[in-house]
Amino acid sequence: MSLPTDGKDLVESMKTVKSKFKFRGGVHPDYNKDLARDKAIERMPVPSELVISMSQHLGAPAKCIVKAGDYVTRGQIIGERNGFISVCVRASASGLVKAVEKRLGAAGGSAPAVVLDTTAPVPEGVVVPEGPILQPLDWKTASREDLLKRVEEAGICGMGGAGFPSSVKLNPPPGKRCEYLIVNGAECEPYLCADHRLMVERASRIRLGVEIMRKILGECAVRIAVEANKPDAIAALEEAFADMVGNVEIVVLPVLYPQGSEKHQIFATVGRVVPEPPALPIDVGCVVENVGTTVAIADAVEKGEPLLERVTTVSGDAVAEPKNIIAPSGTKYSDLVAFCSGVKEPPAKVISGGTMMGFAVPHLDISTTKTTSGLLLLSRKRVFQYTSQACINCGRCVRACPMYINPAEISKAVEADDIADAERAHVMTCIECGACSFACPAHRTITQFCRRAKNSIRARIAAEKAKAVAAQSAAEKKEPAK
C-alpha cells in the first residue's frame, strides 16, 4: 500500500485511503481464506452436462424459450427477461436440450432449468456462429443507452450473492443521480477468494468495467472497497487505477463481517446511511457493484462476451485441492469437485456460498448460477451441531447485529409465535447476515427465527394484496350490473 506523498498534487488522481467510518456490531468468524487465497484462477473444461436454471438472479425467473430436442449454441438466449426486475439467461455452452424441468436450486426452492448435453454432435443445418457472441463496443464512443442495453442483453446481475439485475441498478430513476460508484471487493465471507483472485489477476478488467459504469452513470466519484486482509489485491488495484482520471479512491476497510453488506459498505466507504426501506442506495447517491459484476460488464462491452461463466471458489477442509475455478453457469457441483481432484475425506456438510450466509445443500447434484461464489466441503470436525437453549439475555446478539435491531427479542417473539411482536422489533430490517446466531452462547438459531418471521410477514402482505385486488375486481364486476 502506498500513500500519496503530496496530497495537493494528487487531488484528481487515484489514492488509497483507510475507511473513516465504522459501523457498530459485526463479528469476526474464522476466515480460512488461506486454503484458496493463492490459487490462481483456473478454467475448467465444459462438463458433459449442464443444468442451467432460469432463476439465477433476484426477481422474476426468466421465461424459458427452448424445448427438449432443440440444439442451442453458446451464448444463445434460452430464457427471456420476464419483467422489470429480471435478466435473460443464455446457454453457457453449445449442446442439445435434453429436458426442460424443475430442478432443486442451492437455496432450497426449485425452478425450471434447461438440461444441456454438451457432447451431442451439431445437427445438420445448425451453424455454430464464429467470433464474438455480441458485437464488441468501443465504450468511449458508444452511447450511454447502448452500453446500458449491452449490460441488459448480456444477462448481467449482481455476482456478490443477491443477483440484482445490473441494468436496473445502473439506470437510476429520473431525478436521482449517482454521486458515488462503489465497487465492492470486501469479500467478507469466510473461505471465499473468488473476488480476491479477480482483483489480483484482473485488476485492469475491473478498471475497464469501472470506466464503463462511470460512463453509464454519468460523472461520479469512484470508491473501490477492499478489506485490509487483501494487501496483494490492493497493490494490484493501485497499479491498475494509478492513472485513472477523476475522483477515485481505494478504500481499505477493517476486517469485519459483514463489511460486504451493501448498506454497511456505503457507510464504511463514504459515511452515508441508507434510510429505512423502501429507500435504496441510490437515494443517498450511491451505486454498489461487486468486482465480479464489474469484470462481467467489461467483458460484455469490450469483448461482446455475455455473462456465461464466473469464478467460483471450491474450498473447505474436505476437498482434495481447493481451487478458484472459472466454470460455465450450470456446472454441477459434482463436476466442480471432480475438477478439484475429488475429496480428501467424506464431507459432512456442503455449502453453496460462504459459511455465514451460504446454503447447505443435500447433495452435489445442484448446479452453479451467476451468483455461486463458492462451494465449501466441510469435514465432520468443521460441522458444528448444537442443541439450542433458552435465551439467557446476554445481549451478545444485540452487540453483534450490524442493523442495530434486537435479535434476542425477535427470536423469543417468533418462538412464542408472536409474529406481530417480531415485526414491531423491526425484523424486516434484518439482512440475515448470521452475526446473531454466530455470537449466541445459547446456540439459538436466531437468524432462522428472523427468516421465519420475515417469510410469514411477506406471505401476509402478499395475501392482503391479493385480497385487495380480488375485492377491487369484484367491485368492478358489480359496477356494470347496476
Binding site: 456438510k349 458444528f384 433458552a390 442495530y404 434486537n406
Partner: protein, 331 residues
C-alpha cells in the same frame, strides 16, 4: 420432477454455518472463576464457617435444580453450570456463621422459587441469589445480621459485631452529622487499607474490594460483562455520597456489598437490560436506590433490594431502550 436421489446426503441447516464457540456453560464457568478471589478472601477472614456456608449453598442449589428438572420432566440443566454459580453467589452474600439449615432453605428458595418456577435460566425476572437473600433477610432477620469479626477465632470473647455501615448509621442517627467524621479504627470504621483488602465484618464475599476487583478484571478480559452497569452503578453511588454529605464516598463504595453488587449481582444477564443504554439506566437506578435505602431506609446496606427493584423494571427499560435500526430516523 424430483431431483435425482444420490447416495450422499449432507447435514442440512440454516445459515450461518460458523459459530463463535461461545457457550452458556463457559460463561457461567468464567463467573465462577471470577468469584474465586473473593471466595478465598472470605474464607481467609471468616474461616471454616464460610467454607461450610459455601459448600452447603452450592450442593443444595445443584440438588434442587436437578430435582426441579426431574419433577418438571424436563432435560437436566446441571451442565450449563448456572445452578453451580447460584450457590456461591448466594453464599457470598450471606454472613459466615449463619445456621446451615437456613443456607439450605435459602438455596432451595433461590433455585426452586426464584428460577425454576419461571422456567429456568434466562426466564427468571429476579436475580435468584438476591431474591433468596432478601427472603432470608426478612425471614431470619436476627441471624442474617449477626456478623463474624474477621479473624474471630483470635478474640473468642467477642466474635460478632456490626458492619461499618451499620455502625455509621447508628453514629449518624445518634450524633450530629457535622461532628461525625469517622476516624479510622474507631466506632467500627476500618481504615482504608482494611476496606480495600476486606478486613471488616460483612457477608462472606462482599468484604474484599481488591479480590472483587480482581475477579471483575477477569470478567472484562473474558468479555463476560460490559462496563456499562458497573460504571454507572459505582459513579452514581460516588456522586450521591458526595452530594448527600453523609459517610465518605469511599466507605459507601467499599462496604455494604456495592462492589459485589456492581460487578457480579447487577450484571446478571437474565435480569438486566440488553442494550448499552439500558444497562446505563439500570446501573444508575441500582446506585440511586442503594443510596436512598442507605440514607432513608431501615437497612444499612440496601444493595440487594435496590437491584431487586431494578430487576422488576428491567423489561420496561428494555422496552424504552430498543435500539434504532441502522438507517432509521428517530420517531
Amino acid at each position: 420432477m424430483k431431483p435425482k436421489e444420490t447416495s450422499e446426503h449432507y447435514v442440512l441447516s440454516s445459515s450461518p454455518h460458523a459459530h463463535s464457540h461461545a457457550s452458556v456453560s463457559r460463561i457461567m464457568l468464567d463467573v465462577i472463576i471470577a468469584l474465586l478471589p473473593t471466595t478465598i478472601a472470605g474464607v481467609w477472614f471468616f474461616g471454616m464457617p464460610a467454607v461450610w456456608t459455601i459448600a452447603v449453598c452450592v450442593s443444595t442449589c445443584v440438588v434442587t435444580e436437578a430435582l426441579c428438572r426431574l419433577a418438571m420432566k424436563r432435560e437436566s440443566t446441571i451442565g450449563d453450570f448456572s445452578a453451580i454459580l447460584t450457590g456461591p453467589l448466594l453464599a457470598l452474600n450471606l454472613p459466615a456463621g449463619l445456621p446451615l439449615w437456613m443456607a439450605v432453605v435459602g438455596s432451595v428458595f433461590a433455585i426452586a422459587v426464584c428460577k425454576q418456577v419461571f422456567g429456568g435460566l434466562g426466564k427468571n425476572p429476579f436475580n435468584p441469589a438476591l431474591a433468596a437473600r432478601a427472603f432470608m433477610l426478612i425471614s431470619f432477620t436476627g441471624p442474617m445480621t449477626i456478623w463474624l469479626k474477621p479473624y474471630w477465632w483470635r478474640a473468642p470473647d467477642a466474635v460478632t459485631t456490626a458492619t461499618p455501615l451499620a455502625a455509621m448509621k447508628t453514629m449518624f442517627t445518634s450524633a450530629a452529622l457535622s461532628s461525625a467524621t469517622p476516624r479510622a479504627g474507631e466506632g467500627g470504621i476500618p481504615s482504608l487499607w482494611d476496606l480495600i483488602i476486606g478486613n471488616m465484618p460483612g457477608c462472606i464475599g462482599e468484604v474484599s474490594a481488591a479480590a472483587l476487583a480482581l475477579g471483575a478484571v477477569y470478567l472484562f478480559i473474558r468479555k463476560v460483562i460490559t462496563w456499562h452497569i458497573p460504571v454507572s452503578y459505582l459513579v452514581t453511588v460516588w456522586v450521591y455520597s458526595l452530594i448527600s454529605g453523609g459517610a465518605p464516598a469511599h466507605i459507601h463504595i467499599l462496604t455494604g456489598g456495592v462492589m459485589i453488587s456492581a460487578f457480579f449481582m447487577a450484571t446478571d444477564y437474565a435480569t438486566s437490560p440488553t442494550t448499552g443504554k439500558g444497562k446505563l439506566i439500570f446501573g444508575f437506578g441500582c446506585g440511586l436506590l442503594s443510596m436512598l435505602i442507605r440514607q432513608f431506609g431501615s437497612y444499612p446496606e440496601g444493595c440487594s433490594f435496590a437491584i431487586l427493584i431494578m430487576n422488576s423494571v428491567c423489561p420496561l427499560i428494555n422496552r424504552w431502550t430498543q435500539p434504532k435500526p441502522f438507517g432509521y430516523k428517530r420517531k
